[in-house]
């Protein structure tokens, strides 16, 4: 009996090992297309950009230029730093409104209110609308000619003449921020909603028993419990805010006179110039490299400063 058991155990182990190898091979086979795609469409382009950052490359001829491109960025290209400043203003300017708005709406939609599924869907819808459409919508809303925004503000008597929203830097930035908030707050609302649903109900019950008001519960239970997920949401929002390009391109294209140009749009214009300029792929690549380092530094600083958030609860 014992010998039979040993034999059958050995068979089982041998079978289990073969089965493990087989599963491993299957797993990698299923992952292979995704990994291959990641290598070809993400890693390879990144390496391409990092390589050409050290070249003077116009799309036809590449001449090694060493650090010349980086010297140009740091000593001669004022527009790059202006566009970077605009990027920070946009990224943080919209966060100040977008995240609190998403949180407040998530708190309301976490309660058992009539139509909450409908509202959850509606608030998320802008996130799936094409950026080009959003740009068009807001261009029409804030149009100087028969724009809804101007008509409304004139109707309630705040102004007598329509505002030319896209003629000045700060009015243009306001429109971009509003469009960006409208587009992005829905997904952040969903993230907060997911976080809220992981807060144990018992904590609220215990707080209620102790006499805590709704505001006390929000400040002392909801916010601390949401802190870890809020850390991730804020980090994603900062990184995505710094990479914004398509919305600015559709809404203002950097107008007026390049004053709302963001860093990604500035880089894009060197990759794909209009008019009688050569593409400067090498210089654009070096700007991309510098920008990615800056975004990386901002992210690391943020994670370091927000480290304590993880130990809140």
């Amino acid at each position: 009996m014992r010998i039979n058991n040993t034999v059958s155990i050995k068979k089982l182990i041998s079978y289990k090992k073969k089965s493990d190898y087989s599963e491993i091979i299957q797993s990698y086979a299923m992952l292979a297309p995704q990994i291959l795609g990641f290598l070809i469409f993400t890693i390879y382009p990144i390496m391409w950009v990092y390589r050409y950052a050290f070249f003077d490359y116009d799309g036809v001829k590449a001449v090694y230029s060493g650090l010349d491109n980086f010297v140009r960025i740091f000593t001669r290209d004022k527009l790059y730093w202006d566009s970077l400043t605009n990027t920070f203003v946009l990224a943080f300017g919209k966060l100040i409104i977008e995240l609190p708005l998403a949180l407040i709406i998530a708190v309301f939609l976490n309660k058992k209110i009539f139509g909450r599924s409908f509202f959850r869907t509606m608030f998320f819808m802008p996130n799936i609308v094409s950026t080009a459409i959003i740009g068009l919508i807001f261009t029409f809303i804030f149009s100087s000619f028969n724009g809804i925004a101007n008509n409304f503000i004139m109707e309630i008597g705040i102004i007598d003449e329509p505002i030319n929203w896209f003629a000045h830097k700060w009015t243009s930035m306001t429109v971009i921020i509003l469009a960006s908030i409208w587009q992005g707050f829905g997904i952040n609302m969903l993230f907060f909603l997911a976080g809220l649903q992981n807060v144990p109900e018992e904590l609220y019950e215990a707080a209620k028993i102790d006499g805590a008001t709704g505001t006390h519960q929000f400040i002392h239970i909801t916010l601390p419990m949401l802190a870890p997920i809020a850390q991730i949401i804020l980090m994603l929002a900062i990184v995505n805010g710094m990479k914004v390009m398509d919305l600015v391109m559709v809404l203002t294209n950097g107008m007026p006179a390049g004053e709302t140009e963001v860093v990604m749009l500035h880089i894009y214009k060197y990759f794909f110039p209009s008019g009688y300029s050569n593409p400067q792929l090498g210089y654009a690549s070096s700007m991309g490299l510098v920008t990615s380092v800056i975004i990386g530094i901002v992210t690391m600083m943020y994670l370091k400063l927000s480290k304590k958030v993880n130990s809140t609860y």
Binding site: Q26, F166, A167, Y276, Q280
Partner: protein, 462 residues
């Protein structure tokens, strides 16, 4: 458990097979010669002629093509045409004949294109076609890769109804278009009645490179020999002859006689507003005939006038952009080159371009071809744009592209409009940076000044 494992393996195998089929499905066949019939693939990115050319190619295939054992496979791609072509090159699936998306120089240097003279009967074709090529556009190092076939002309598009309503008429009561830029400014002021949503002129600044070339610099070339002036001996740019153009533009701004929201107005939106009868005039191009008849159906009676000038006694030839049609791809060498050349010649016959003109698709570059067209069914606006061919000069110079540091002149133009830089500041800034870029290009050999030195008198003689 074994059975479960077998099912998993089967599913894995089936999914992998599907994925591999998808991956390799792009590897199709190249040129096809079946039963001695040679298929010649022709690619363009032109949507406006797609239907017409597809029908013409089908007719060819059923008639001449059957006699000569040629089959044309015509494809008109959309906005992603360049990507598709680049992908086709990398997969060795580029067509035999194609309209090159963008600049040809890169493809010429990579050896993707064949000079016409390398094809059988190519030199004879060029001798008969008898239209000078443009070095740096369709001629590179003395070899011709395509021929100019059509032209886009510009003109002052104006709303006759608004002109009449504003009292801007001639002695017969017909709308009187302006002849000078001062008159444009004056008429724009007279036309503008913001309470009625009518404005004098459209200034679409959202795409500054489009505005500054087609609707600003090019029109003002009728008042100058060239803009900017380039001193090839000293290698300097001089934009100072744009001063009067800027003074005119800022005058329009001061008068508030432009359609509001210029900074966010693009060309499509301005044409849409013109079609609605809200704009008195704008600088348009020959493609606007199709736009204002189909895309934005004009609700007004409109016409086209010659581009205004600063001084009526000093008029230079109007700018117009000539374009080629097809180039010959290197894959033509892998098939019957004589038949490819047959198709190439067919696409460049007078009959083809007469057809294009009569259907208001393209204006032939040769005025003698226009004169052969039956213009009885053609709209008056199309005829008006076509008339400029005899009074114009080709603007399609070899593309003098410089590696510029900082913003292009068209973006700095917007700063002049916005008031953040003066006209003098603009001139000083672009002169300096463009001159530096030009000298750098000449020094490193990327710019061959012999291709660009011109001594041509563009004065228009009546």
């Amino acid at each position: 458990m074994m059975r479960k494992l077998n099912i998993e393996r089967t599913i894995c195998f089936v999914i992998t097979t599907f994925l591999l089929v998808g991956v390799f499905s792009g590897c199709g066949s190249k040129t096809t010669n079946t039963n001695n019939v040679t298929t010649v693939r022709v690619w363009t990115g032109f949507g406006h002629t797609k239907e017409m050319l597809t029908k013409m190619c089908n007719d060819y295939n059923n008639t001449i093509g059957k006699e000569k054992d040629i089959r044309i496979e015509y494809t008109a791609y959309g906005g992603d045409y360049k990507n598709i072509y680049d992908l086709a090159i990398s997969n060795d699936q580029a067509p035999e004949l194609l309209k090159i998306p963008g600049d040809k120089i890169g493809y010429v240097k990579k050896g993707e294109l064949i000079p016409i003279t390398d094809m059988p009967g190519g030199q004879e074709f060029l001798d008969e076609y008898n239209m000078k090529g443009i070095e740096g556009y369709n001629v590179f190092d003395g070899k011709t890769y395509s021929v100019p076939v059509n032209v886009t002309t510009i003109g002052l598009v104006y709303n006759k109804d608004i002109f009449k309503a504003s009292g801007i008429v001639d002695e017969n009561g017909d709308a009187l278009p302006p002849k000078t830029w001062d008159e444009v400014r004056d008429y724009a002021k007279r036309i503008t009645r913001s309470e009625n949503n009518v404005y004098g002129i459209a200034i679409p600044l959202k795409d500054p490179s489009f505005f500054s070339s087609w609707q600003f610099t090019d029109p003002f070339r009728s008042s100058y020999n060239t803009i900017p002036e380039i001193d090839w001996d000293n290698l300097t740019y001089d934009y100072s002859n744009q001063r009067k153009a800027f003074e005119w533009l800022l005058g329009i701004k001061a008068d508030k006689s432009f359609f509001p929201g210029a900074e966010s107005l693009d060309n499509d939106a301005s044409r849409a507003q013109f079609a609605e009868g809200r704009i008195g005039m704008y600088i348009g191009a020959s493609w606007d005939v199709g736009v204002l008849s189909s895309q934005f159906n004009a609700k007004c009676d409109w016409a086209v006038a010659p581009i205004p000038v600063l001084n009526v006694n000093e008029r230079y030839k109007q700018s117009q952009n000539v374009a080629d049609f097809l180039c010959i791809g290197k894959s033509a060498l892998k098939t019957d080159v004589k038949k490819v050349m047959e198709v190439y010649k067919w696409f460049h016959t007078n009959e083809m371009w007469i057809n294009m003109y009569e259907k208001e698709k393209d204006i032939p570059a040769k005025y003698e071809v226009i004169e052969k067209c039956n213009a009885s069914n053609v709209s008056p606006q199309w005829k008006q744009f076509a008339e400029f061919v005899s009074k114009g000069r080709f603007n399609t110079l070899p593309a003098l592209k410089v590696s510029l540091e900082g913003e292009s002149a068209s973006f700095v133009l917007l700063k002049v409009w916005a008031g953040t830089i003066s006209i003098d500041g603009y001139i000083a800034d672009v002169n300096k940076r463009y001159t530096e870029a030009l000298r750098k290009g000449v020094a490193d050999g990327s710019i061959d000044i012999n291709k660009f030195k011109r001594n041509i008198d563009y004065r228009l003689y009546d």
